[in-house]
Structure formats: structure tokens, C-alpha cells
Symmetry: C2
Subunit: 460 residues, 2 copies
């Protein structure tokens, strides 16, 4: 269970809509963005400097990541068998946010960071976002600021620390270490260029506007819990009625019995669905065309693998080349919520994704990828809620996926609250859960997928 | 957290050394063993009826399991790179024990079960031990008794339910669903032939004698916790001083902060050690000879893959053939314990094994496999404690590994309690933990490996 002390502090921070530390978060982003130059060009995949394309696309150093083929068989979903390219990155990176009480309110040290794949190139990132290759300085770049706060955590207050999965459709077995570490109020933390302290209330606003808080920051933020033993104090009550429901939902369902029942249900789902994934040479993929410039699906569905050349002045090294995965546009993830017996619950589904470490995790209510469907008859269950009446929509914002690997990968995030008397007909692999329960499951490891966590972060 | 009610009931049961339900557990096993005929013959691997040997050895139905090759790279341990055969069984089987309060004491419904690989062929097994192929009756055998208690658990009291890993050196990604389900006192449970109710005290005795409680029962039993909020009541105090220490150790270290600190330490270990596993055709293995009869290591180290033909009257079907893995003899697992600040702690290590779902889990203090070492200079850290003075030894018993897949795989289980003033020098990937902490980690998923759980079961 998260420490109640932090829950209360985070809730107070989420109600602080501004701070003298960063009077204008929009202006800060804009200013940092203007102060650096960035340029992302598409270049032929087979002529990427530093990379070899053979059975797989690998870096000359053997580090960073590779693009390989997989053959997948599953009884989940409409397609029983397919092949696809996938990004393999077995290292464990660190995504860490430093928090510190400043003027009585907890602040989060965020970084204005350029990522080549983001539509809005510069967004708020975690304090540290470092692959293992990064922090071991394989490419001889600049050292990662603030890294020691997370590597040498023995004397620190670790608020959250867990391995959490990333996009199981695009990454094989990828997970990162998500950390929140508190610095004592009296410890001086120098604020480097590109960094600034934000309250959670400011981050909420940025999240609601979309494309301003990057994926790696969202996954860490999703670990924040408002659960307290005795509910929010009167002066902690959010005035916004939906936010109040969210906070209440955090305080319910985190009991051991609820967690056990949810795990039992999840194991039932794991036993029902099969998944077999084998790594194969890129040339053995059916339905994919391996050109010299790109790897693409025969019918241009799903995504492409492209080569990029990046030049920047605000990153560890100033020029590099790398393959990236560019999804077909139009992806939507949606979370259905409903007040049930006085508590807000969200509808999650047990979803198999080929790259997940243990077959399936909890996903949002709807994953809608136009690239996956040939017509409206192929739409997944509950997809119609994406077109819910405007009065039901609590959040509608575009968010960037990991801009270090995915090119122009914007996903529309939707949170829809259906009225209490509305009946949702969901298949067996769907289940209503409180945010308190989801938070407990997240702490235990690989139970909640990145798409669901990203939606949960948007609800903070 | 386990429900304290069960902790107290299980502790009381562990102090009940006999019961009218099964006056003589030894005689029951012996009698069931005599009442059935079993015969296990080695047959050539390439002529196993029902199996095809090609890139892998697979069953004609495509079900059950396969024997495949893997190529492994890791920076854990002395060998950086190797190939080996491995058993692939992605299905999720059920290992379930029914418990019921009878005459005021909780009893466990155990089955006298023949398994072809066991040295003592018939041993106490869980109430249900069924692969998915088993319970979906792929081979058209008899239905599995008591299975519905576990499949239809919605109305039942589920005491424990979690996916737990199995031998990561011999299985790829294998895990089973471990369940303990309570039947209400007033519900009649017919006792089928081969089944009998035992107290935990009787099971303890059987575990201490060795080769009488099979691996699948041991893994379920390891989930039993004696943790209560307020410690054992006076009349629950075990008289045996070591047993009393074990029970006390169950009540300490299960707090959330301890669990979080242990997970943080484990993630540190996961970030330190690398593991890359690829499935390869059996013929691509180096250092292994693929004969028509067996697959063996060039120097006859590690293990062999052999063919077996089994005839039995006490199993679902009476005759079948299957490949089995036969380890080189002499394997030892040992757990070091020490009373520290008044509480018994055990020394576990973070150990990489190629078949684990997420790279590494907690293992016992020593895994000693003579097949792995060419001389005494290759012995793993702390291996000398296997030869500890007799006065330190709390348990020394041979236990069978899964007799459905492993042939003559007896592992010596050692529990050694070092004196309080003895200093143990352990490498960084070792850590002292209470049984209460290990129990909490087990509940969260893939944190404690089968070898460690088997040792913990022997400590009950």
C-alpha cells in the first residue's frame, strides 16, 4: 500500500493549480523549445549510419535496441496467427521523478525534453528518462542529470519503485523501472537548464491539454495514489465533481481481499487465452514488405519501420540515426467510467499483447486502431463509446507515445463517464475496478498495461 | 496479506500430529502403492509413439509439451553463453489443495499419486494436479476428480491463488496456478480412492522424511502462511524450538514497507544481470549430442533427454510414452537460516535462470549441481555450508522434482541454522529475509523460485 502521507501530499499538490516555481508551464515549454534546434529527417532504413540490417536491424555496438520479426499465435481477438516486426530492448531503463516539498506543497521536477517522434517535439518528461545504454554512456554522450538520486536510492525515500510494461504490440518484453523518489525539504536540489518544478495540479492541466506530458512521464505519474486510510480531509476536497469522484475511487478497493479476487479473475483470463511468440528473421515475415527504405505491411496496415536522422542541441548527443516505428494514424484508447454504488469504477479488459512479459495485462476499455480493421464490422467490443455524447466525455486529449522509438505516434485518450442508470454490455474479459484496486495491482508488477496507465495518469 | 483466520487454523493443524481420518499416513501410501501396478521403461527418443522429433520433439496433437533448444546469454554466473534443451509447456495447469475443518482441525485432501519420474513412484500429491491438456481431456482419459472445486471457484473461499514459476533451468516460462480452496465444514466431500485427509502436522512429518510429498504438492504448501496480526496464542506455541522460530518468522516482515524495499532490491538485481534467451532447433545446439536414443551433453553434464514408456493402473490413462529430462544425480539445494535480532531469517539469492518469466527470482542460498561443475574450484558461493556441522542441520531430506517430466530427479534439501554469532559472508545478490516477507512476495507473483519454495514447504 502506498504510504498515506504521500497520498495526502499528492492530493494537496493536485489541488495547487499554480506555483511561484513555474508561473507559466506553457511558456516554459515554449521557451525551452525555442532555445534549441531539432530536425528529424526520414532516411533509408538500409543505409542508417551505425546500424546493420540483416536478420534483424541492430546497432553496431550490439546495444540500444533491435528490430526483429516475431511470429504470433493466439486465440485472443479475431486474428489467430500473424507475423510482425517488433522492437526488442531487454535493458531496464529508469524513469524517475524527483519530488520535493516546496513552500508546503509537493513539487515534481520535470524536464522539457525533445524526442524525435513526438508531434510536439518538446514535452514535459520525467526528471530522469534513461535507458541502460544511456546511463552506462555507451554512446559517450553527456551524463544524465539527477541519475544518482535514483541509482543510489539506499538512503532516499522511495515513494514508488516497480518494473512496468510498455507497448506490448510494438515492444517485445519491454519494461522500465518506474520510480518516484522524495528529496527532503531541506536538501538543496540545483535546477538544471531545461528542468523546472511543477505541482501536480499544473501537470493535470498539461495532461488535459494533450501532447505536453510525454509517455515516460505519464507512466510514472500513473503510480500516484490518493488512497488514504480515512478519506480526504474537508480542505482536500476537490471542487470539480469528477475529480472528487476520482479521488474517492482511489480510496476504495485496495483491500487485500479485493486484490486477491482481481488476481484470481486475471488468472482465469490467462488460462483462457493462449499466446505463442517466436522470434524470426525479418525476411521470414509474411504480409510484410522489406524494402531498402522502410518495412511496411502489404496493405499498409498497422505500422511502418522507418529510418530517421535526428539533429538536436538539447539531447545527450547532437546527431544520431535510428530506426523508428510509425503507426498508422488514428489510434484511440478509451476508458469507460461509471458511478456504481456511490463509487466511480473504470471498465478494464484483460488483453493479450504479443510483447507482454506474461501474456496479458489489464488494458483500457477500448483500443481502436484503424490500421487493424478493414471495416466498421471489425470494430472491437464497446468501440461505439468512442462516439459517446459530449456530455459524457470527461477527457479528450491527444498524447504522444514514446517519442524515442515511435514516430508521430499520437493516441487520442478518451475518458467517458456513462450515467449511473446506463447498462454497459461487456464481454467476460472485462471487469469494473476502482482506481484504488488498479493502484494496488500496479504496485505488484505486470498487471496494468501502458495504455491503461496512460489513461489513469490523465485522470489524476 | 493472508487472512489471519487461516494462518491460525493452519498453525493449529501443523501442531496436530495425527488424526482419525488417516491414522497412518505411511501405511496409506504403501497400501495405495501396492494396489496399483506401474512400470517405467526407457525407450529410444526417436521412436516414441505419438511424438515427432524434428526441430523440436512435439506430440502429434500439438499439445502437452515440447522439447526445444535454447541459446542463452547472461552475465550471471561463470558461464556467459550456452545452448541447452528445454521443456516448453505454455499451458497453465492447476495445482490445487482442498482444505476442510474436520473435528475442529483443518485437514488437507491429498492424493496418493504415481508419477513415472519419482524414485518412490507413489507420493502424496495435491488434490488436483492437472495440466490444461489434462483437464480439457485432450487424451480422452478419465476426468480429473475434484477439478470443479477449483475451476468453479466463484462461490468458494479461495485461501491462495497465484501463478508461480517452475524449474527455470529445465522449463521455458513454465508456471502453474497454485490454489488452496476451503470447503465449508458442513459440505460433504466424498473421498475418492487414492485420496485421504491429512493434517498439516502429518504433512510436515512426511516432508521431513523425504520423497513422500511430491513437487506439485510442495509448491502449493509453500503458500501457507502462519502470519497473524497478534502472534500465536499461547496454546498455539509449537514446543519444538526451531518450529517456534519458523512460526515467529512468518509473523515478521510482511509490512508494506518491507515488501517495497525487497522489490526495490530485486529490481536492482534485475538491472545488474542480463539474460537473452532464443529458441533454436535442437540440431543447432553446440555441446549436445542428439542421438536416436537420447539427447546428452558432450561431457555428460547437466542432464539427458530420454524417452520413456509408462504403464500404470492408477493414472488417467494406463499406457503412454513421453520424453523426460533426467538430471545428473547429486543435486542439492540448501537454505541458510540465522536468528538475527530475535527473529529467524533465511538467506536467499537473486538468481537468473534461463526459463524464468522475468529473468530472475529469489532462490535458496545454495544450488549445488555436480553436473555443472568440473571441479571443487567451480563451486558456487556458500556451497561449503552443505557440509555444515550436524548440530546446525535442521532438515536433510531428499525430495523428488516433478515426476511427470523429470526422471529420477531427487534433490537433497538442506536447512542449516547457523549460530547467532556466526558471520556469513555473502555476495551482493544475497539477502536475509523473514518467512513473512517471502510469503508476501509469493502472493504478488513471480518473486520466489520453485527451489526456494520447496525448501520453505519443508520448513512448515
Amino acid at each position: 500500500m502506498p504510504e498515506p502521507m504521500f497520498s495526502r501530499a499528492f492530493l494537496a499538490s493536485s489541488l495547487a493549480s499554480d506555483t511561484a516555481m513555474t508561473p507559466d508551464p506553457d511558456a516554459f515549454l515554449k521557451e525551452r523549445s525555442a532555445s534549441a534546434t531539432h530536425r528529424v529527417d526520414e532516411v533509408p532504413l538500409n543505409a542508417l549510419p551505425g546500424w546493420r540490417a540483416d536478420d534483424a536491424i541492430v546497432h553496431d555496438s550490439g546495444r540500444f535496441f533491435s528490430v526483429e520479426g516475431v511470429s504470433v499465435r493466439t486465440n485472443f481477438g479475431p486474428v489467430p496467427e500473424w507475423t510482425q516486426p517488433i522492437i526488442v530492448q531487454p535493458d531496464i531503463g529508469i524513469l524517475g521523478i524527483l519530488v520535493k516539498r516546496i513552500g508546503g506543497v509537493h513539487h515534481f521536477l520535470m524536464q522539457a525534453k525533445m524526442e524525435p517522434g513526438n508531434s510536439d517535439l518538446v514535452q514535459y518528461a520525467a526528471t530522469v528518462q534513461a535507458t541502460q545504454s544511456n546511463y552506462e554512456r555507451v554512446h559517450g554522450g553527456r551524463s544524465t542529470p539527477y541519475l544518482d538520486y535514483f541509482l543510489e536510492h539506499a538512503e532516499r525515500r522511495v515513494v514508488f519503485d516497480q518494473l512496468l510494461s510498455e507497448h506490448g504490440d510494438w515492444y517485445l518484453f519491454k519494461r522500465n523501472r518506474n520510480m518516484i523518489v522524495e528529496v527532503p525539504e531541506d536538501e538543496d536540489v540545483p535546477v538544471a537548464e531545461d528542468f523546472t518544478w511543477l505541482t501536480l495540479g499544473q501537470l493535470r492541466r498539461q495532461l488535459q491539454r494533450g501532447n505536453r506530458v510525454n509517455m515516460n512521464a505519464r507512466t510514472v505519474l500513473s503510480a500516484i495514489s490518493y488512497a488514504t486510510a480515512d478519506g480526504p480531509a474537508a480542505d482536500d476536497e476537490p471542487r470539480d465533481p469528477f475529480h472528487r469522484q476520482v479521488v474517492e475511487s482511489h480510496t476504495v478497493g485496495g483491500e487485500d481481499a479485493e486484490v486477491s479476487a482481481a488476481i484470481t479473475w486475471l488468472i482465469d483470463q490467462k488460462a483462457k487465452y493462449t499466446l505463442d511468440v517466436r522470434r524470426i528473421p525479418l525476411d521470414d515475415m509474411h504480409e510484410w514488405v522489406r524494402g531498402t527504405d522502410v518495412i511496411r505491411h502489404l496493405e499498409d496496415r498497422y505500422f511502418r519501420i522507418v529510418g530517421t536522422s535526428v539533429t538536436a542541441t538539447s539531447r545527450e548527443v547532437s546527431t544520431w540515426s535510428q530506426p523508428m516505428l510509425e503507426p498508422t494514424p488514428g489510434n484511440v484508447v478509451a476508458l469507460l467510467c461509471q458511478r456504481q454504488s456511490g463509487v466511480l469504477r473504470v471498465l478494464v479488459q484483460a488483453m493479450v499483447q504479443p510483447g507482454l512479459t506474461d501474456r496479458l495485462e489489464l488494458a483500457g476499455t477500448v483500443h481502436l486502431s484503424p490500421g487493424r480493421y478493414t471495416g466498421p464490422e471489425d470494430r472491437p467490443p464497446l468501440a461505439d463509446y468512442v462516439d459517446a455524447p459530449e456530455s459524457w466525455v470527461r477527457l479528450d486529449a491527444s498524447q504522444s507515445e514514446d517519442g524515442g522509438r515511435f514516430l508521430r505516434a499520437d493516441t487520442r485518450h478518451l475518458v467517458v463517464e456513462v450515467p449511473e442508470d446506463h447498462v454497459v454490455q461487456a464481454p467476460d474479459n472485462y471487469r469494473w475496478m476502482t482506481l484504488g484496486l488498479l493502484s494496488r495491482l500496479m504496485r505488484a508488477g505486470y498487471y496494468v498495461n501502458i495504455e491503461a496507465r496512460s489513461l489513469i495518469a490523465c485522470l489524476l
